[in-house]
């Protein structure tokens, strides 16, 4: 140990310490990039499209021509993903798609720490290219791995082509 101590050279030791300090700062002071501006005086959106690589299906299939995930008479998770990181705040999620039969899918918002919000919807046959369901929710602290899931039952026949996540305004100043 004594030998090691004598080998340490002032200038290069300072460089080594700076390198370590820089990495510790990057780890401890981040994340630095925030996709959701804070504070917000207007709503800010993110649009996830079927086929963009962020959303996926288990019980359904992807139709490339219509760019949608669809399920007919299958049971399970029609849609999951995109594993988004969300800051604390108020959000709204809207699922867009079509219902080909009378269906009762369940819409869920989850994160790495569990279920955040859920609702069941009743969709009438012939609903095309419209909002299937909307859920508003609040996060008291940041959430990792947020998913916007759609679960279907055996009698359901629906398709989802987009999920719109909106971060609602947080600041009243200047707002109408």
């Amino acid at each position: 140990m004594k030998y090691l101590f004598h080998r340490i050279h002032g200038g290069s030791f300072l460089m080594a310490a700076s390198l370590l300090a820089g990495m510790i700062a990057l780890a401890q002071c981040g994340p630095f990039f925030h996709p959701w501006p804070q504070p917000r005086t207007a709503a800010v959106g993110a649009l996830y499209l079927a086929g963009d690589g962020r959303l996926a299906t288990i019980a359904g299939r992807f139709d490339p021509a219509r760019a949608e995930f669809s399920a007919a008479d299958s049971e399970g998770v029609l849609l999951f993903g995109p594993y988004a990181g969300l800051d604390a705040g108020r959000y709204a999620v809207a699922w867009r798609g079509s219902a080909y039969k009378d269906s009762r899918p369940r819409f869920e918002i989850t994160s790495a720490s569990g279920l955040i919000a859920a609702r069941a919807a009743t969709l009438a046959a012939g609903t095309t290219d419209s909002t299937l369901a909307t859920i508003e929710f609040s996060l008291a602290k940041p959430a990792d791995g947020a998913e916007f899931r759609v679960l279907v039952g055996r009698g359901d026949a629906i398709a989802v082509h987009a999920v719109e996540l909106t971060a609602l305004a947080t600041a009243a100043a200047g707002a109408p």
Partner: protein, 456 residues
């Protein structure tokens, strides 16, 4: 420097071990992990239409290799052979005995992250070889300066830049180190350091210009403007942070790219989902696009939003070195690109030997993942950095190995820092040179400590 006179038979063990390591690696990874970049290199080699987005020198190498054996086997043979042989030569020069050099080489190439880096038939592998050649040439020049040795140093530096243009950042500290003794002799240290830095910068700019000239005149390669992807990435990040679309309309692609779409797809660790997306929505990254408009938009965005730019680049730097990011692509790339399988009928095949599978399992073991992350290597780099640096300089007739260890570490850190600032994807192969350079520096430092402790 201290084992040049080792008896021939003893010295031969280094080359025997080097050959064994090479064969082990080559057959473990045969025919080499092939990426989309190499697909583009191969397309250029076969079509004869060349651009400088990837090294025109490597395009020429692939062109010459294909008639002999289709696929990456010959380029991989040359790239891996050069990297292993030059690492052996450097270790032999820096370690006290041929046995130590042989043992050091085994430790280096079998270390899982280095083993993975040496499995890729990418320009990064050739870059590792070129950088090792530069360090060896620089050591020979510092030991006995002369015009021929200087020419060899310059030639190897030019080779490194012809392979990877961003080699400039790894070469800068080496160029300054070469200039230092002559400048230090007659001047105070701060002035000598400033002059060495200026001289190194001039040399690097000269080499970059020569590389551009060689690409255009010698290899007849058109300008590709590879900087576009970095500019698109920065503009997308600033647009998201400010909630204002700052990307030029001509870059939003035929299907458009609204701000909510950009926010949904943006990943601070990689621009891939924006530029090479699975659907019709992608930003335009093309040689024939309006480069002036993009440059102007990028410059204006940084000047108008320096805080947002700095925050985004800080986050990218963190992800680039594996902080808040342990993606497979950062830890190592184990399997050939799907485009490799498309060529299966012509004798190509995917990699997948038992040894490679073993290293794959190691890299996915949750308790070992940190070993592959660049922050761990940079933390290791602080050891040779803290313990080296003393001694050497103008008065030294031969460079002490610990000074070379510091040089390797500074080159690796300089390269990593500049790539964190200028690249657009946190992927493992960008860390090939830092892994090899820091690995050699650590081996040299530990060997020096062990030897000195034994003597004490």
């Amino acid at each position: 420097m201290n084992n040049a006179a080792a008896p021939g038979r003893q010295a031969g063990i280094v080359w025997l071990v080097a050959a064994t390591c090479f064969l082990l690696l080559y057959f473990a990874w045969y025919p080499g992990v092939f990426t989309l970049d190499e697909r583009d290199i191969l397309d250029q080699a076969l079509s004869g239409r060349r651009h400088d987005g990837h090294s025109p020198l490597l395009v020429e190498l692939w062109r010459l290799a294909q008639p002999i054996k289709a696929g990456p086997a010959i380029p991989y043979l040359l790239g891996l052979g050069a990297a292993v042989a030059l690492a052996a030569a450097l270790l032999r020069r820096l370690l006290p005995s041929p046995f130590a050099a042989a043992l050091g080489l085994c430790c280096l190439v079998l270390l899982p992250p280095v083993f993975v880096s040496l499995g890729q038939v990418t320009k990064d592998l050739f870059f590792v070889g070129a950088m090792l050649a530069v360090v060896l040439a620089a050591l020979r020049y510092r030991a006995a300066p002369g015009p021929l040795r200087l020419a060899v140093v310059l030639a190897t530096m030019q080779l490194a830049i012809l392979i990877r243009i961003d080699a400039a950042f790894a070469l800068f500290p080496i160029a300054a180190w070469l200039a230092w003794p002559a400048l230090r002799r007659a001047r105070a240290a701060p002035l000598a350091a400033a002059l060495a830095g200026a001289l190194a910068a001039l040399l690097i700019v000269g080499l970059l210009l020569a590389s551009k000239l060689a690409s255009a005149r010698l290899f007849k390669a058109s300008a590709f403007h590879a900087e576009q992807v970095m500019m698109l990435f920065d503009l997308a990040a600033i647009s998201i942070e400010t909630d204002r679309m700052l990307l030029p309309p001509s870059r939003l692609g035929p299907a458009g790219f609204a701000l909510p779409l950009l926010r949904a797809r943006f990943n601070p660790a990689s621009a891939d989902a924006l530029v090479w997306s699975r659907d019709r929505h992608h930003l335009v990254y093309a040689a024939d696009a309006d480069q002036g408009e993009l440059h102007a938009a990028w410059g204006a965005a940084i000047l108008a939003h320096p805080g947002e730019y700095a925050r985004f680049r800080a986050e990218y730097a963190a992800r680039f070195i594996g902080i808040r990011n342990n993606a497979d692509s950062l830890r190592g790339q184990f399997f050939g690109d799907p485009s490799m399988l498309a060529e299966a009928g012509r004798g190509w095949r995917a990699t997948g030997s038992p040894l490679q599978q073993l290293y794959y399992r190691l890299s996915n073991a949750p308790r070992l993942q940190w070993l592959y992350l660049p922050w761990f290597w940079l933390a290791c780099a602080s050891v040779p950095l803290a313990l080296g640096g003393a001694g050497g300089g103008a008065a030294a007739a031969a460079t002490p190995p610990r000074e070379v260890a510091v040089l390797l570490v500074v080159s690796a850190v300089s390269y990593t820092a500049s790539m964190a600032l200028l690249s657009a994807a946190a992927i493992g192969r960008y860390h090939s040179w830092p892994r090899v350079a820091i690995g050699i520096a650590l081996i040299v430092t530990l060997a020096g400590l062990a030897g000195a402790a034994r003597r004490a």
